[in-house]
Amino acid sequence: MIHNLQIHKTLMYICPMYSSELIKGTLKTIILKLLSENKEMYGYEITQKVKDLTDNKIQITEGALYPTLHALENDGIVTTEIVNIGKRVRKYYKLTPKGKNSATEKVTEFADFINTMKFLLDIKPQLG
């Protein structure tokens, strides 16, 4: 129950065109997938990438992104590198070996979930 509550709270910060139920628990998967495809990324870059890739359909807000990134760092899934940009610093995130496995697992699990849902809801592939 707590788990659902946490996810729900996190989703309040995501502004998708999809209903929150649809994207429950996908934030970590999205971040891990992006980090596995890009060597290292910083927060703003992640939000922009998601926005671009989904054609603005999914927008990750700062309120959802940073708590998740901190949690991933705390879990040893991502590691950080600090780079000075003039007066400010930028924190780059990259996957640890554990994070790489975790990214693969999460994506596989999600793909499997989609297939199951397709079968369950009897969704036919749309032509054109």
């Binding site: 707590i2 709270k9 309120g63 940073y66 708590p67 990134l69 901190h70 949690a71 003039g86 400010r88």
Partner: protein
């Protein structure tokens, strides 16, 4: 593309801090993020302050520190399963040690105190706080959180009141009163008046309130029927008076020479055994073999209680009592002893079956032993006075 000046970066960082974000990592992340937005979305000639004040509200619903709260929540959530496991383990451990400790206490077996301290300590310091933390996370309702926290406080103080009472430590009354006050003046009113307004929880609120009022009432009654300090004081004073009287009688015969050396040894033995038995009882009650002079200020009152089946140290007390009885019989049978000077065993603690001694109260045994010693001292006074 807008170029931010150092002053503007400082301004943003200060604003982030002022808005309640304390984690340095998060401050730096947010600073860079805001700077990126401004640099990418604000035109070179744009109004920095206006744009900043329009941008920052997009980061939160009510206030910026929500992000930090969410971060902390996620970091704590990671420990959820560990906390849950610890809660279950400490719960089981506390339950077992408390049950064992109470049983040991009733049987007067050694280790009862340690078990109770461990059990009550772990339930109040680990199990209860963990349960409250996990339960409050489960609900977003402020009323439920408050009710949980106040019931946790009541539980905590009840645990400590019980521990202090069982261990005869001073100050247990204060814990009882605090627990009852929180329950009567905070928990019950808040629970009742907030729950009764909601038609869905109305019935449940009434039922639970009745149970809570009943439980608090019972606690209050128990506080009232617990022996008042004055009552314990009177018993203690009465025992001390008896002891002083005994010393007075014993002192009045000192310096006289006993006509029989063998009787002198018996007298010494009787007094020795009697003192050992009394020391054991006092030690068990207050943790010291003799009542200290400042027992009132230290709160070292002997609470009245049964001796227990084994009468301390695996029946050492019972052995001493039977030895004492044997010595008294020897004394009574010694040569030249008339009926008047014999120590009466009838109606004394030595008259009962020793396997039932555990049912007798510590005060009745203490006083009975002192009386035996008084009989002995009086008899010796008479016997030596006639010589």
């Amino acid at each position: 593309m807008y170029t931010l000046s150092d002053q503007q970066i400082d301004f943003i960082l200060n604003d982030i801090k002022l808005r309640g974000v304390e984690m340095e990592d998060l401050q730096l992340n947010l600073l860079d993020h805001i700077c990126c937005i401004i640099e990418c979305e604000l035109e070179q000639e744009g109004d920095f302050e206006d744009f900043y004040h329009k941008t920052i509200p997009k980061f939160f619903k009510k206030e910026l520190k929500e992000i930090e709260e969410e971060t902390k929540l996620l970091l704590t959530f990671k420990n959820f399963y560990a906390m849950k496991k610890t809660m279950i383990r400490t719960g089981i451990f506390s339950a077992i040690t408390i049950v064992l400790g109470s049983f040991f206490k009733v049987m007067h077996w050694p280790g009862a105190g340690a078990l109770l301290v461990l059990g009550i300590g772990s339930i109040s310091l680990l199990f209860l706080p963990l349960m409250i933390i996990l339960k409050t996370k489960d609900t977003s309702n402020k009323r439920d959180k408050f009710v949980l926290a106040s019931s946790g406080a009541v539980g905590f103080f009840l645990c400590w009141a019980t521990l202090f009472a069982v261990m005869h430590w001073p100050g247990n009354g204060i814990f009882w009163i605090i627990a009852i006050c929180i329950s009567a003046f905070v928990l019950i009113p808040v629970y009742f008046f907030t729950g009764i307004r909601n038609p869905e929880t109305k019935l449940n609120t009434i039922v639970t309130t009745v149970v809570l009022v009943g439980a608090t009432g019972l606690q209050f009654t128990m506080l009232n029927i617990r022996p008042a300090v004055k009552q314990t004081q009177i018993k203690m004073y009465s025992y001390i008076q008896g002891e002083e009287l005994l010393k007075k009688i014993q002192n009045s015969s000192s310096g006289r020479t006993l006509e029989s050396a063998s009787r002198s040894i018996i007298v010494e033995n009787i007094n020795n055994k009697a003192e050992q038995i009394k020391s054991m009882i006092i030690m068990n009650a207050i943790g010291e073999s003799k009542i200290p002079k400042n027992f009132e200020s230290e709160g070292h009152f002997i609470e009245e209680g049964n001796l227990g089946i084994n009468f301390f140290d695996n029946g050492k007390g019972i052995k001493l009592l039977s030895d004492l009885k044997a010595e008294i019989n020897k004394y009574n049978a010694s040569g030249g002893m008339n009926m008047e000077n014999k120590i009466p065993i009838d109606h004394s603690v030595l008259d009962i079956e020793f396997d039932k001694i555990g049912r007798y109260s510590n005060y009745s045994v203490l006083n009975s032993i002192t009386q035996i010693q008084m009989y002995l001292a009086t008899a010796e006074n008479k016997l030596t006075a006639f010589k």
